[in-house]
């Protein structure tokens, strides 16, 4: 089939670009080797830890924000909010004014947009809160988080789940989220928790387990029945809020007749200035062409970039040149401080203002090839808190061609 847009990568940028295009009536194919970055993120949209730094990023020519432009960022955030609202999963917040939310370790983080299930955790609000300790659930230490956040801990037992057979404790956030999608389990939980929350502060923080497909109902149901404000705190991967984003974007893509192939490994070719890709699955290769091919394969962690032990870095699909800021040996890639900033965080693909990747001579590598998201050079996303903002803004811009 002839596609308008072929996207490689199923992280936030790839999925969002696919949805935006499909919603505009384009024929879209998304190919990914596996599920992308959504499942290992917090499920919130960080734009810049310090909103005041945003102007500088737009003004700095090599920053991905400058390539995308402010209008793309604003439009992307608005469109994501629209999509999420349509899927009954509203995201709250606005550009330029961050929410300060708690982490599972009890530190704080800045985010621009957060789902309804999290916003009551805004630490700028004066009302006191408690954190819920759920015995049997090992991925959240309420005591640790509460000590750091100066909150109190309330121990809330998890009712026995009807589908449990072995009597083992609840093992994962996914498990609990699936249970909380069920009204009967929520009723059992309310019955067990309500007496224990009689003298609780007005807000209660829970690990992010409040439902998967029906989190809005789960959150609303528990809030009204328990009579206090509930907020979720994102956990270790796989992230339930991230899964919700993945699922709703995947469903939205399908609803707008977009195609999604999970599994193949993709390699790219550029011939006479035109890019095509070959998908390899089960030893079978198939070549795809499209008006526009969008590379959304992510950085080192997600397989878009690969580093060799000798310090060579390559881009994994088209073997595009990678901007490593002239740093050769791997010893120069990192700084002494674990949480960075590390020079390697800025490695990536250089693009022009149309998001076309550049070849070694600085010209577009192919006229129909774009690169978006965490693959792009020029930003330290971890230090800036800009990962999702860059992913969305560049993805949105790529759908405007």
């Amino acid at each position: 089939m002839a596609y308008d847009l072929l996207i490689i990568g199923s992280g936030l940028s790839g999925l969002f670009a696919a949805c935006c295009s499909a919603r505009r009536g384009k024929r879209v194919l998304l190919i990914a080797r596996g599920i992308g970055s959504t499942h290992i993120g917090a499920g919130t949209i960080g734009v810049m830890n310090n909103p005041a730094d945003l102007e500088a990023a737009f003004a700095s020519p090599d920053h991905p924000y400058a390539k995308a432009g402010r209008r793309a960022l604003e439009a992307a955030l608005a469109e994501l909010q629209t999509i999420c609202t349509e899927h009954d999963y509203p995201l709250h917040g606005e550009l330029g004014r961050n929410l300060t939310l708690p982490t599972a370790a009890g530190s704080t983080r800045q985010t621009c947009l957060a789902p309804q299930t999290m916003i009551a955790g805004d630490l700028a609000r004066p009302e006191p809160f408690a954190l819920a300790a759920l015995p049997g659930f090992r991925d959240f230490s309420a005591a640790l988080a509460a000590a750091n956040l100066k909150a109190c801990v309330i121990t809330l037992p998890l009712p026995h789940a009807p589908r449990r057979t072995s009597g083992a404790p609840h093992t994962s956030a996914t498990d609990l989220a699936l249970l909380l999608d069920r009204p009967d389990y929520r009723e059992a939980l309310i019955a067990a928790w309500k007496p224990l929350l009689k003298n609780a502060p007005p807000r209660l923080g829970l690990p992010a387990i409040l439902g998967l497909a029906h989190s809005a109902q789960a959150h609303g149901h528990l809030q009204s029945a328990l009579g206090l404000e509930l907020f979720e705190i994102p956990l270790l991967p796989p992230s339930v809020p991230g899964m919700r984003l993945f699922d709703l974007l995947r469903d939205d893509l399908a609803a707008h007749d977009g195609r999604f192939i999970l599994g193949p490994t993709v390699t790219g070719q550029i011939h006479e200035g035109r890019a095509t890709v070959t998908a390899d699955a089960n030893g079978r290769t198939k070549t795809h062409t499209a008006e526009t091919i969008v590379l959304a394969t992510g950085g080192f962690l997600h397989g878009g970039l690969a580093a060799e032990s000798n310090g060579a870095v390559h881009e994994t699909v088209f073997n595009l040149p990678v901007d490593t800021a002239g740093l050769g040996a791997r010893t120069h890639w990192t700084s002494e401080v674990f949480f960075g900033p590390h020079p390697f965080s800025r490695f990536g693909i250089r693009v022009n203002n149309y998001l076309q990747p550049l070849d070694a001579s600085g010209k577009p590598a192919a006229h129909n090839l774009l690169a978006i998201g965490s693959l792009l050079a020029g930003a330290d996303r971890l230090t800036e808190g800009s990962r999702e903002g860059i992913e969305l803004a560049t993805a949105w811009k790529a759908t405007q061609t």
């Binding site: 089939m1 194919l29 990914a32 080797r33 596996g34 599920i35 992308g36 499942h39 290992i40 589908r163 449990r164 057979t165 072995s166 083992a168 093992t171 994962s172 996914t174 498990d175 699936l178 991967p237 796989p238 899964m243 995947r250 469903d251 399908a254 195609r259 999604f260 192939i261 999970l262 599994g263 193949p264 490994t265 390699t267 998908a279 390899d280 699955a281 089960n282 030893g283 079978r284 198939k286 997600h302 397989g303 690969a306 994994t316």
Partner: protein
């Protein structure tokens, strides 16, 4: 991009793992390919995406999830030691984990191999031995149909079978067809003289041959409509039912036999096309990655086996498909079975049905639950039914006249849980060709 893997198996060796895992430079005792499959555990970063996607772990804690019994337990599996984790038997083999893994870990394949090690050590229960022999059951049952269909419908007998064998009394078995597909084909005459140059061996599998000849008949009609010369060559059960029950020795014997029988046809210019997505996946991928069969003939078969819709899409893209469909409007739920998804070819069947004029509601449920013979087992029936529940609910909500699904065991499972008739998409396409002269 080849990936360098360093292995410690008594000696240090380096191997190059190409996308399909061909060992380019490797000298190891026995089944080097399956060794490479298990070695992909080193690519695991413990992100747990597979566990979050596993349909079985989502409904029962008897299965701790693909990461735990796959790449994690793999580190503790040694050729000479007992299996690290018996819960791998609760893996249904749907393969969703391997599909969603962003790092290339062949989790489902690894788990299938681990299960075979359990069987090697502890033996194969009679029930699993029986369930694996779909071809033998067909050979025994089909000639005596419809008489042979009666016993499995008798509740007291089913209770006995459940008690003594462990096959759940609620599990519905398909009815044997008295006339096998092969016999039908021998009497069948191609409608028009064939002018095309494409040649296909139709791999019918046990289900089409012994239970649902109509699926094969539809496939032949569609292929012949497109001027394709069809043969049904000597062939046997793909071996998957034995493989998924951990009986690798039998599965390999069946697989080798198919390779021996079918490779010469490929050399003659035929491609192998099948309607059962699980059979074709076995020929295409699993003989190699799970059963560890290599060699020129095995590769020839793997490289030239196609799901029928993958094949039709290829014809279409080459401008060689007759697309004069009789348009019809019907709303169907299409469930792409897990084995279809593992082909990673998209969902061409859904695309074709839309072109015919159908409204296709696609299921987002990764697996219907039955996963071949998994859901028929007494201890697993409820798990399998819970896995399929979101699909059954979606079907009830859409309330179509028919459910469309590429896999036979899924169709039977869906029918028994929803009361809806379930057909193969090739039947829909064959209908769309009817009523118009060529």
């Amino acid at each position: 991009m080849p990936l360098v893997v360093v292995v410690d198996t008594n000696v240090w060796v380096s191997a190059f793992l190409t996308p399909r895992g061909h060992p380019a430079q490797l000298k190891l005792p026995l089944q080097p390919v399956t060794l490479l499959t298990t070695l992909t555990s080193d690519l695991c970063i413990k992100c747990n995406i597979c566990t979050s996607a596993c349909p079985v772990a989502a409904v029962t804690d008897l299965f701790p999830g693909p990461k735990a019994v796959g790449p994690q337990a793999q580190r503790f599996r040694h050729p000479d030691l007992p299996s690290a984790d018996h819960s791998v038997d609760y893996c249904s083999g749907c393969g969703v984990c391997s599909l969603v893994c962003p790092h290339g870990v062949q989790i489902a394949e690894m788990n299938a191999i681990a299960r075979s090690r359990l069987v090697e050590r502890y033996g194969l229960p009679l029930r699993n031995r029986l369930l694996g022999r779909s071809e033998l059951l067909g050979k025994l049952g089909s000639p005596f149909a419809p008489l042979s269909n009666i016993p499995l419908k008798l509740p007291p007998l089913r209770k006995l079978i459940e008690a003594f064998l462990g096959i759940d009394a609620r599990a519905r078995f398909p009815a044997f067809s008295r006339q096998t597909f092969r016999r039908w084909f021998q009497r069948h005459k191609a409608g028009a003289p064939l002018i095309g140059f494409r040649k296909v061996v139709f791999f019918h599998g046990c289900a089409t041959n012994y239970y649902e000849p109509r699926v094969g008949q539809a496939a032949i009609a569609v292929l012949e409509r497109n001027q394709i010369k069809v043969s049904i060559a000597e062939q046997n059960c793909c071996g998957l039912p034995m493989q998924s029950n951990g009986d690798f020795a039998s599965a390999r014997a069946y697989a080798r036999s198919n390779i021996r029988k079918l490779a010469p046809w490929v050399r003659e210019g035929y491609v192998i096309v099948g309607t059962s997505t699980s059979c074709t996946l076995a020929l295409k991928h699993e003989y190699h990655s799970i059963l560890g069969l290599t060699g020129e003939e095995a590769d020839l078969l793997a490289d030239n086996t196609y799901d029928i819709f993958e094949f039709l899409e290829m014809l279409d893209e080459a401008g060689q498909l007759d697309t004069r469909f009789v348009r019809r409007s019907e709303t169907v739920v299409y469930h792409a079975p897990c084995q279809q998804r593992s082909h990673a070819i998209g969902r061409p069947a859904a695309d074709f049905m839309r072109r015919v004029g159908f409204t296709v509601v696609e299921s987002q449920t990764d697996c219907c639950g039955v996963a071949g013979t998994y859901g028929l087992k007494k201890e697993k029936y409820d798990i399998a039914a819970a896995v399929g529940r979101p699909l059954f609910e979606q079907i009830a909500e859409v309330n179509p006249n028919r459910v469309v699904c590429d896999s036979e065991t899924c169709r039977w499972w869906i029918e028994s849980h929803t009361g809806k008739k379930s057909v193969h998409p090739i039947e829909v396409l064959a209908e769309a060709y009817k009523g118009r002269k060529q």
